[in-house]
Amino acid sequence: MLCAQVGPEHGGTGLDSRANGELTARVGARCSSLRSVMTSQGMAAWTVRRLGGPEQWDTFLPRLTSGDLAAVGFSEPGAGSDLSAMETEIADDGAQVVVTGRKVWITAAHYADLLVVFGTYRGGATAVVVPAGAPGVRITRVPNPLGCRAAGHADITLDAVRVPADHVLGGTGLPLPLATTAALTYGRMSVAWGCVGILRACLDAAAAHTTTREQSGRVLAEHQLVARHLAELYVAERHATRACEHASASWDTGSPDMAVDAVHAKYVASREAAEGAARAVQLLASAAASDGHVVARAYRDAKLMEVIEGTSEICQLILAQHTRKPTQHTRRKVQA
């Protein structure tokens, strides 16, 4: 269930992107922490599928569908938005590789059995599957995150960690932007659908509250300024849902636009969720002002969705780049 798009041949349920999206939204409406763990697990499975070869699918995917938890590490102290600054190194040493580096803010790393760690390899980059218990791995939980507080975010130190060479996905160096984009495309879909869930939870809570609480002699929803907030919240939920449905359809039909549609969906849904959650807090006012309330949690969690899997600004840069077609006249390197 945590990585429901993995096929039955590897012990998964083989959902398509649309069905997995609806499942992700349902979980996301109740708990963004659990949804974040799902995002990491699904992204780990997708990374193995994309970057790994068939033997690696057979080795790792059944573990991910049968209870082992996984986290995916891109971010480093010096490499947040700019993943080309990544310093983690995967180095050959006979039948093993040696992994050295630091990762920060890795969702689910506190719970994980397997760490899918991105790093440079043979002049390019790829990911390596590192057992969380391997000698040289140190995992330190991030204290007091703003949101998704139960998602087990942790920093990871890899001090000359040795793993078998066949844990290096694909066994070769790939262009870093392609390797990370391939992996992040799944994560972006998952976060986007999770944001749809956040919006649905906010809409339900706001509708329930404003149709029962009375002020100035009528229920809140009958005050026009309140009604407008409700309309905007509904529009936000629809808007995010449509962007996600479109991106999932691209995924499910193998449209070449699937990667850029995933960026678009993540950008739209996280923006709508952050705005919508703030609107829901406004509508519930003091009723949503204590920390454990579903709308209070949505407010804290949604803001972080504008940060992860490519910040809103990075999404904007990718979308702007997409509008500019490649030409044979400009000279430019492959870039994120």
């Binding site: 970057l51 070869g53 066994g171 262009p175 392609l178 990370t180 990718i318 500019r324 000279r331 492959v334």
Partner: protein
Amino acid sequence: MTISSKPGSHTAETVAQEVQRFLEQRTKQTWDPDTDLFSSGAVSSMFAMELVVHLESSFDVVISGPDLALDNFRTVNAMTAMVLRLREAQP
């Protein structure tokens, strides 16, 4: 009857034509079969992913692991060679 279980039959010529058609549609220019897309053009990681997914869905192949190496996407000829090799290897 065809030997391959893949739908449609493809030759180097038909694959190359389809790749060129796609590049032209996406970039509004024509590409010689051996022009280096990466050194001569602005190719973003999004565009590289477009190529990967388009080749997969047009020719019913899976491009994963080492096949994602940039050299396989550098020219129309390189993409054609990879597609034919994968269609052979993934019946």
